[in-house]
Homo-oligomer: 386 residues x 2
Amino acid sequence: MIEDSFPPLLSEFQVPYRYTVQFTKGIFQIQNPCLRQFLISERKEGTVKKALVVLDEGLVAHHPNLIAEIKTYFQSLDLIVQLTSDIVVVPGGEDCKNDPKLWESLVDAVDTYGIDRHSYIIAIGGGAVLDLVGYVAAVSHRGIRLVRIPTTVLSQNDSGVGVKNGINYKGKKNFLGSFAPPVAVFNDLLFLESLDDRDWRSGMAEAIKVSLIKDKDFFLWIESNAEALRNRNLEKMSYLVHRCAKLHMDHIAKGDPFEFGSSRPLDFGHWAAHKLEYLTEFSLRHGEAVAIGMALDTVYSYQKNLLTEGDRDRILSVLKKLGFAIYHPQLSEKEKTNLYLGLQEFREHLGGRLTIMLLAGIGVAKEVHEIDLNTLASSVDFLADL
Amino acid sequence: MIEDSFPPLLSEFQVPYRYTVQFTKGIFQIQNPCLRQFLISERKEGTVKKALVVLDEGLVAHHPNLIAEIKTYFQSLDLIVQLTSDIVVVPGGEDCKNDPKLWESLVDAVDTYGIDRHSYIIAIGGGAVLDLVGYVAAVSHRGIRLVRIPTTVLSQNDSGVGVKNGINYKGKKNFLGSFAPPVAVFNDLLFLESLDDRDWRSGMAEAIKVSLIKDKDFFLWIESNAEALRNRNLEKMSYLVHRCAKLHMDHIAKGDPFEFGSSRPLDFGHWAAHKLEYLTEFSLRHGEAVAIGMALDTVYSYQKNLLTEGDRDRILSVLKKLGFAIYHPQLSEKEKTNLYLGLQEFREHLGGRLTIMLLAGIGVAKEVHEIDLNTLASSVDFLADL
């Protein structure tokens, strides 16, 4: 028997990851030590690493001196890390994830500038740019060291501190991508000041989400600070970002970081959100879509007798106080079929059984594996009539 | 101080991987339990998984009934795993890694057939096809479960049992790719019988390599079985494949599986091999190029007083006994500059400092960080004159 002579070989190992998310203000001010200390800590005798910086166009528009500041900052580091001759600027927002040519041009930049596995790619911008650049870094030379500097509320409290990247493909969100932790993340809170109101607000959706499924106290804090948050109080927002980022990172590290299992329990409100983003051709921000998705699943949870009427109204009220819309015409009667398709696509993206997270209370998540389309339709109607 | 109010957040975790490499004969014979038992062991209540099978064209040419056999094999499994309506056949050999359209067509197949993260992609073929399909699986939906069925000596003893995938881009080998362990590997030794002599032989290069840097006893075994190996003795070859696969897998699991560090100590003979493959437009097989690369670095090791003359000759003699060429005209005087460029590219691909593995004895590896071009040139001349 061949099986006897050549026994099976087992490969079993663990791959360790470790990175910190630092909070700072004015990261490229010459006296700010955060980034410099990190780069110096990684120095290896006798080598000068390269760094390719990729910037979000929207950020540059608000900070016209940023490119010059970055170049000046790195001048004092040139024995440790050398910037490539150019800083690459890419369009921001979800559009950048829809354009395969943009991905290719960044891979070409890696090639042109000779960025190797021990060099850095430093991605600075909103979540979409970080996702795009992260995917480039993950697959070039089988993984280049990625430093993320998220500049929006959403990316600082959620996607930018996590382990995923991705781009859209043939109309499917994040169809291509990978799990690839960064080597460091720097949340520069000053960048939040230049966000427009929609981006300031929409980033809070993930904080509400994580509070609803994990942390009732955090929800209460958001509820009592809703007005200050809406009125752009930076210290309150910084607290929200820090607490949300911590919850998100703990969930990753203590759970199933690369999602080999079958559920993604942080995804409350997301199945409808993903579909809404496409149905509105991304005129909705991700957070705006998530707010609507959470409103829908909150009402659905109530109609399924999981959630009290009081809790339902309290959640919808916080969303509204923060300035979120909780309904969109694309949820309407004639579009419902499209919405239902979203359930199927969500299942396919997650793989395996459909798993939808609902609420059994504020701070109490509950997974279900079926959605009753009649109840879903009446939940939509409830929101339409509010 | 903002840094005090919002302390850094640390993310630290380990991602566990586990897979077995089973050795069998006739994996798709209906009574063969290997693959069936694996798929049954992974079954989840109430779900039927999908499987997309991708086959190497060269293999199909030698096994015209294979597609029918696979379909029959899976019929008895259809409550557990359902094959997609079509089995995809792709051209084999390095060419398949040079064609981005092929990669795209496979991603499209994942989309078309609705292959999700918990479905399987089953890649059957030589190392190049496994690399290509592995890369597709790694980035579609951020990672689809990959089963590898390597069918060549090289893929069964080396690349197919490891953790990498990749495709070439703009003339650079494995420029795009990732580290993504399979969920299972099945080495069907019967497939080796249909290999042509070049593929049979060239796969042994990695076994010689690993014996030279890690396992002198294995080298002695190869030396004393060289004739049987050359004369296509399947049991001897099976032993070689099993022992080489084990050494390769142990190296990965006990070392730095995703190569975050700076060296790749299993890469003896590979820097010149990579370049030679390109210089010969892949008319050289990978193993043929590695054999020449090892001959070159063996002679270089001798010329640098690391290796005795006796060991040098013994190594060159085993390579020749197995039927390998140990010189190629592309190493010649007028091409040396190209070869030197290969050193630079190798450094860039590895990242950080140049690290080249030499021999300080049979079974004794030694890393160096500099290559003396004069000695390299005279090593080339030595091989040219043999």
